[in-house]
């Protein structure tokens, strides 16, 4: 068996769906954030795989794109965790089930 | 250099000045009979074994050196009982630590508690991989070596956190939180200080930076003294050495994150800490003092001896600060990092970029331009340090602390007021 683009893509898909499940199902807000990070990583992995195997002229663009994704992920985590802190401060919980602010 | 033909030695597998020869030989030899994957595994294993073989004994000697030097600072003899001049003391300590009972708190998170003493070795050893002992003498000459160094040293803090959290001890947790906060903060000036070099030399390879210094006949501490100072301080903060050893501040939180580790588990932490000190000294020597290169002396003396000498000098400096200075408080360290080191290194990144651009676009002669830039940068550094010294002293600290000698006026509040008014008037 030759490991090529398909295997990486399948791995990326698996990672993405795992992240998706975590993001949807976890009670804890930090857990949700972890799922989101996993999904972003899966996307990055896919992009890098394309950049490695594709013959077209997208090699560098995808890598640069991945760098932007990582930067945005860092920003997202910082803001997300700050939000979690604020939610915790006001509600004494970071359980996403119980932070139903809009329900009143 | 009479009849001895250097050319015979050059390129031979036993010429360890070029580790590529050896690895090429092994690769070719294994390719004759075995699969191709074996060669990479074997060379990798040999490389890591080589690192261990070098740093293991070095650490044992270093423990002795550090204790002896500190003892001399403190007017003591230091270890002098076990072996000649006490040289075997570290061995005796190691045996003692191995024989000691290994305690684990009942409420500790068992798995995470047992892992850190082992895991701490991973970043500790990986860093050695990119250290060039000579022109071609590094286990892995990555072209992103500088970034690799920062990334790997950044992961160590996670292990410290695991150790502190899993111990289920407040001192340990305090130590871990302080270590994490410090490490995250001081990574920024560290990155910025190295960015100066990367911008100016145009390479991210560690060996490339040394070669640049060799090529331009200049060491970076002359060109960017402030980066060197910032890197030195940030490194000593990351290494938990005084004046920034708050994460294991003995007088406050006992031993910080490794409070609950006893026996050889503590010994492993200690060994890695010492090893990290050594490797960071080596990197400071490499980045700022020219590494294995010393104005042509490297043609005559083996390069790794030069590196070792420079490392020793930096290491001595680290011991010196440790033996001399009190410890800063965590808020003082944080504000020093964010209010002093980060802006200063940031400015120097800009300075480096401007100078590099001038150098490239104007096509100046580097033999003339570099000394001028060095003088400018040294002046800038001095200015920055003096500015900081002026700004950092609060109003409270600017007044001299002093005592007044009272001869005859004994008494309470009235006498105190009288003495204070006399002292104030006497000024």
């Amino acid at each position: 068996m030759i490991i090529g683009l398909e295997e990486y893509l399948a791995l990326g898909a698996l990672l993405f769906s795992l992240g998706f499940y975590i993001a949807l199902s976890k009670k804890n807000a930090v857990g949700v954030l972890m799922g989101v990070e996993l999904m972003l990583n899966a996307v990055n992995l896919t992009l890098i795989a394309f950049s490695r195997f594709s013959t077209s002229d997208i090699t560098l663009s995808t890598q640069v794109f991945v760098i932007f994704i990582i930067a945005v992920a860092a920003a997202e985590v910082a803001v997300g965790l700050a939000l979690i802190l604020v939610v915790y401060r006001n509600r004494q919980t970071i359980n996403v089930d119980r932070t139903t602010l809009l329900k009143g | 250099m009479s009849g001895f033909d250097l050319a015979v030695v050059l390129g031979a597998w036993y010429d360890f000045r070029d580790l590529n020869n050896l690895s090429r030989l092994i690769t070719e030899w294994i390719a004759d009979w075995g699969p191709d994957w074996l060669s990479s595994i074997v060379t990798g294993l040999l490389g890591s074994l080589g690192i261990l073989a070098v740093i293991g004994p070095t650490l044992l000697v270093l423990i002795w050196v550090e204790r002896k030097v500190i003892a001399r600072f403190q007017q003591r003899y230091g270890p002098n009982r076990v072996g000649p001049k006490g040289l075997l003391q570290p061995v005796a300590d190691a045996i003692k630590l191995i024989l000691k009972e290994q305690l684990a708190p009942r409420a500790a998170d068992k798995l995470i508690f047992f892992l850190p003493p082992v895991l701490i070795f991973v970043p500790g050893l990986l860093i050695w991989g990119v250290l060039p002992f000579g022109p071609r003498m590094s286990v892995a000459d990555l072209n992103v070596g500088v970034l690799f160094l920062l990334a790997v040293s950044g992961t160590g803090v996670l292990v410290l956190f695991m150790a502190g959290w899993s111990s289920n001890n407040k001192y340990a947790l305090f130590g871990a939180m302080r270590a994490v906060a410090m490490s995250i903060s001081y990574e920024v000036p560290m990155v910025l200080a190295l960015l100066t070099l990367v911008v100016f030399s145009g390479t991210m390879s560690v060996n490339g930076i040394v070669e640049w210094q060799q090529q331009e006949d200049v060491i970076f501490i002359l060109l960017f003294p402030l980066s060197a100072i910032a890197f030195f301080f940030a490194a000593s903060a990351e290494l938990n050495r005084t004046p920034a050893d708050i994460s294991e501040a003995e007088s406050e939180i006992v031993a910080g994150y490794h409070t609950e580790y006893s026996g050889m588990r503590f010994g492993l932490f200690y060994a890695v800490e010492l090893g990290n000190t050594l490797v960071i000294s080596a990197f400071i020597a490499t980045f700022f003092l020219g590494g294995w290169w010393l104005w042509g002396l490297d043609q005559w003396v083996p390069s790794w001896i030069i590196l070792l000498a420079k490392t020793g000098a930096v290491y001595f400096l680290l011991i010196w600060t440790r033996g001399t200075l009190p410890r800063l408080r965590i808020d003082q360290l944080m504000s020093f990092c964010w209010k002093a080191l980060v802006p200063a290194t940031l400015i120097f990144v800009a300075v480096a970029a401007v100078e590099r651009t001038l150098l490239v676009t104007q096509g100046w002669d580097t033999t003339i331009a570099l000394p001028i830039m060095a003088v400018i940068n040294i002046a800038l550094t001095l200015g920055a340090v003096m500015l900081f010294a002026r700004l950092a002293r609060s109003e409270r600290l600017r007044r001299p602390a002093r005592t007044t000698l009272v001869r005859d006026r004994v008494g309470g509040l009235a006498a105190a007021r009288e003495v204070a008014s006399q002292a104030g008037g006497g000024d």
Partner: protein
Amino acid sequence: MTSADDTRSALSGTIETLAGDGSEPVVVNLGPQHPSTHGVFRLKVTLDGEIVQDAEMRIGYLHRSMEKLAEERTYTQNIPFTDRIDYLAAMSNNLAYCLAAEELLGVEVPPRGQAIRVLFAELQRVASHAMANGTFINDCGAWHTPLFYMFRDRERVLDMFEMTCGARLTTNYMRIGGVAFDLPDELLPTLRSFLDDMPDRIASYEDLLMENEILHARARGIGVISPEMAINSSLSGPILRATGVPWDLRKANPYCGYENYEFDIPVGEQGDCFDRFLVRMAEVKQSLRILNQLIDNIPDGPWLADVPLHARPPEGEAYARVESPRGELGFYLVSDGSPAPYRFHCRPPSLINLSALKEMSIGGTLADAIVTLGSIDIVVGEIDR
């Protein structure tokens, strides 16, 4: 999930509570075994992040009930107890107790005995302040270097003690009516060379420490107490003088002929930890001054008044006090005419100086509380007795 895991999470739930705003405070025990509590002393600090919200001390780990034990021993037999009250300044404790007993008995100490008492009390002050300053810098985080420097001087003082009375820490040297032995011949030359060396030593310590920026940053403005508050809290010794109050019992209530020696009272300005350190440094210099005046003027004659070992003082009471290195050390003795004291009470400066510890440390960080505790210079033997 097993029950062990439940225990674990229940425990971790309490211990993970650290730092941050809106979080609950965490209680940290400093001691009874802790590198910076200088003995078995326990400080329970309640922290919000690194900020001290409450500090409560728990003492008694070294309590030996000396006051009860002393009621069953004769006045002379009680002197060794006083060594063990403040084991870093045994001479001062001997002296204070003997003064109280002499007041009860109405004994007059011969001049030579008085001079020797002053000599050893001042040497003890040098030794004790060396220890206090060394450990204080250690608590500020220096890696033992200043401590070892100061130990060097203390060692020479202890050598002189050993030369005179055979003991280094628990000297048991003073007696009711004087001192136990005459000075040995080799003491004065040793003392002279010590006095010759000390000014240089002190100058080098001042070079090392006085302008140390980190020390300033750590100790100045920390643990501040106002003179009013200090007096109201019954603080005494260098802590009181650091607030600017020139109160020294050697001048205010001279004993053993202190009025014959020329010395000054160093007082601080801010009342912070650094001022206490400075005052101790300056006091060492003043002690050396006294010793310099003393060394050539020790009168001849007997060194011990004739007091029976089983002295029976008349009924009455006496409160005598000295300026020990830590502050006002007083002994309150009540006699009922028997050979043993009816009541033996020690006013321990270390304990009473801790009165304001809570007020001094609240609002600062944990590291500040440690520095403050170090600057108070406690001796747990004296706190607990």
